[in-house]
Symmetry: C2
Subunit: 201 residues, 2 copies
């Protein structure tokens, strides 16, 4: 008997291509018979270790111009809404701290999709605790409790630890899909990563 196929989905709330994968992964994983382990992390420290103190899409203007047009075309293709965020990259720290609390709970997918929609479809400030609290409440979750837990010293340290783990795994961008020792970088690799997970379970 083969064991259950799983895939680790590393994402960052500020990341434009993570938006696409957060919105797409559930349906595709269900069809492929693959269980997704959601793994929020912070791109900032990973980028710093590569010498970037901002998004490469800001540091390298031609890459940035291309990315926004590419994102627009891909959103049209996937039927996803897009409103270019008035601030990029937005600070995803608070959202990541909350997501960490729920990463192995049933609500993670709905929470992640709501935050991503806030950032990339509604141009909302996802670093604002009122915005995150409103999303939690809308999902029927105890917003005040979760925001308090999110800001606890233990949870802050756990997110740093998870971000360190991302670096140790060799991640250099988001989204990244990890299946065993195989990395698949970018929304473009989501289908291939799921296929790999299903085929190597």
């Amino acid at each position: 008997m083969s064991k259950q196929a799983t895939l680790d989905f590393w994402f960052e709330f500020a990341s434009s291509y993570s938006y696409l994968s957060v919105m797409r992964i559930e349906a595709l994983a269900a069809r492929a018979g693959v269980t997704v382990r959601w793994r929020p992390f912070l791109l900032g420290p990973v980028f710093l270790s590569l010498g970037w103190n901002d998004s490469p899409f800001n540091i390298y203007p031609p890459k940035g111009r291309y990315m926004w047009r590419d994102l627009e075309r891909l959103c049209a293709r996937y039927g996803l809404p897009l409103r270019k965020p008035s601030v990029f990259p937005r600070n995803g720290l608070l959202a990541a701290r909350v997501a960490l609390l729920g990463q192995d709970k049933a609500w993670i997918a709905e929470f992640a999709k709501a935050v991503m929609s806030g950032n990339f479809a509604e141009d909302r400030d996802i670093s604002d605790s009122a915005v995150i609290g409103e999303i939690l409440t809308r999902l029927g979750l105890p917003a005040d409790d979760l925001l308090a837990q999110a800001g606890s010293a233990g949870n802050k340290a756990a997110l740093h630890g998870q971000t360190d783990e991302a670096g140790e795994l060799g991640l250099f961008g988001a989204p990244t899909f990890v299946v065993g020792k195989e990395l698949f970088w970018g929304n473009d690799r989501l289908e291939m990563a799921l296929e790999w997970a299903a085929g190597h379970a």
Copy 2:
């Protein structure tokens, strides 16, 4: 009546993902009914304008490690041979100068495929005029004449001009497919670019 669908294919002989597209584009373009205009250029000056004096795959080791594994998986998927070049990136200048002479001639595809196979499947030094000459001869072309023309002042200047044009178009990597004002970056976008060209002719 719609006009003939065309796509400009910008590639660099040193580029690993350009290898994949050079080997794949003819069959896919024929199926899509799209005419390909082959456009060799030099990534070096483009990278320099972004502040990189080497391949980003060398400057950023995690990106480099990932790229070689990704390339291996993609070659397996496409049924393409791969032998990691002992020198990376190889100097593609001579090959690009020769390719420029033939970019609108019938032999460009066969020449580009032979050079790419030399670099990425046979670990040959494509900067060596003996290697390029041997490829030209094998294709039934006048190797000595073409190598002499390739090194002429006019042809050298023309390749610089074509590389400047790449920068003006907003290119920042290779391969890049250009359809009208739309850029599609990376081997991953080949199919989408062909679809776009066919749909917007």
